[in-house]
Symmetry: C2
Subunit: 332 residues, 2 copies
Amino acid sequence: MTTVKDSQGRDNASLVNPSAVGLVAVIIAATDGEPRALTVQVEGQATGRSDGLPAGPLVPEHPTLERGLRAWVERQTHQRLGYVEQLYTFGDRDRQGDESQGLHSLSVAYLALVREVRPGGLAEASWRNWYRYLPWEDFREGRPAALAEIEPKLLAWAGGTGDPKLKRRREDRLSLTFGLCDGTWNEERVLERYELLFEAGLIPEAQGQSGAASPADLPVTGQPMAFDHRRVLATAIGRLRGKIKYRPVVFELMPPTFTLFQLQRTVEALSGTNLHKQNFRRLVAQQGLVEETDGVTSGATGRPARLVRFRREVLLERPAPGFRLRPAKRPT
Amino acid sequence: MTTVKDSQGRDNASLVNPSAVGLVAVIIAATDGEPRALTVQVEGQATGRSDGLPAGPLVPEHPTLERGLRAWVERQTHQRLGYVEQLYTFGDRDRQGDESQGLHSLSVAYLALVREVRPGGLAEASWRNWYRYLPWEDFREGRPAALAEIEPKLLAWAGGTGDPKLKRRREDRLSLTFGLCDGTWNEERVLERYELLFEAGLIPEAQGQSGAASPADLPVTGQPMAFDHRRVLATAIGRLRGKIKYRPVVFELMPPTFTLFQLQRTVEALSGTNLHKQNFRRLVAQQGLVEETDGVTSGATGRPARLVRFRREVLLERPAPGFRLRPAKRPT
DNA sequence: TCACTTATGCTCAAAATGAGCATTGTGCCG
DNA sequence: CGGCACAATGCTCATTTTGAGCATAAGTGA
């Protein structure tokens, strides 16, 4: 029964059950203080066009998953990728868009951070503010309106059970992910929130018809995406929000030189929260993340700001720090 | 050229290029203050037996990757899995043990944490101290001997290049991962260290003959494992070492009740470093991670310790904290 | 020059850390 | 039974690291 010999994943046994493997890329940029994801138009079977993430099958020519990804992305979007990391492998058989022909279809998702935003690239590829798809995640202007609309529906979902134990459990999850009871919002729990909304039937894709909503009328639960790409995006955002706290990855999104405030705006855009300005710059300074250039901004209103650049050397230094986010009580 | 329509990973295109997908599990337990991984005996093609991780192909019957994993593991090792999280998907074509027949073979690896260690389980499955495979990672008794032996070889590798720029880069990597120059050891960089050793040709598997060393004579670079399983293990350890700092996952490894010192020993076992006892308990206390029971230890020498249990409620509480590791200057 | 706006410097109290010293129970050994 | 050795616990203290703000500096536009 436990003949491990031919149960090894890479031996003949696995060849008997081939799977379809795809690659998906969540390509993130931040310009003008807005977080953006690169999207393409996807032609659904009978569902019309809808937004999706750049994706493609894994083909044997690619020696590496990551190489394959880069190839696909450059072909589809003409966007060069810089920083790339593996995000997650999605592979449930009941995944959306999966016809479950007895064949597993998995997608290996990658997260990429880029600087350049080529605005007039191809028509099929366009940068979209990621909060378009997850509007309840943006707390920069205070509690998002979308959240106010979603909240009663969530409470109704939690309450709409006969089983009191299940009800209790749902309420616990609500308070954990959305901080409904206690007012605690953890900006990293993006995926858990998405999945809760999905379970509660508040995500349009969940019903099976994805591209139903026209681009104009965003439902309160945001613009749908093709397949399970919204889930992938949620995963990416959660991961990125966590990562900026302990790794200097934001700089992958910044131009060669920038002001501390631009940097702050970028971090805020990603995390969806506001930070205390003075403390933010103190943190950046004492961590030695940047060095001054002799340039300053000009033209804009207010006192000109000094331009700084990322100190690449920190990547070779000790604990390689990021930002611990410190929310400000009041905006700015 | 950019007809995204049929370049979607999950459409017909991907069916044209099926891949062999396997599942691998890194199952971790900690007993008697030692970190252990569950291993099985693997029959290599011509390389004899060697240790490997429980693995199996992904078969269509499994609705979920995770379910498939659980099924395989329980079949192979009779070990029930509790906490499970996806670790990484390994898929480079030049992977070890991959015959590259033009077919991609990828392994989706999972990390599992378990409490029970069934000692006399099946003969094929056995718990092994993970430092058996990565002996340079254990700093609990001070700088590990293995590291002292490896160090000159690494320096030689770095120096053995004509290209001075490459040399410089290698030295930078050495100092970053092994902290050779400045004495900074970051216990999370397990994978980077493994990969560096691999590149430097110090990992036996790298040569192609895996099971060459008999279990008795561990090379300084540790006991080899089948396929790329040592890399998978390194990935798991690195991930776990990072995770315990911000998520209360250690408790998945603890029995229902335990002493604070046992808890500390477990954290130390995982991180491979020693902690300051008093500060450790202060941290645990103030984070509210545990609650006292009315039991105490007995029999052992020294003052009896109070038994505590994990407060499951913290999973529903605010930032869900873990341990920030604070290395002690002197042992204990 | 004034009004406004953003950049920067600095202060201060509170909380979190890092290192140790001191005390308290237990089992063991004359 | 008194004294030890050995852990478990309690507490102190000097630093750092946070969190919040106040105050000043340096441009732009009217």
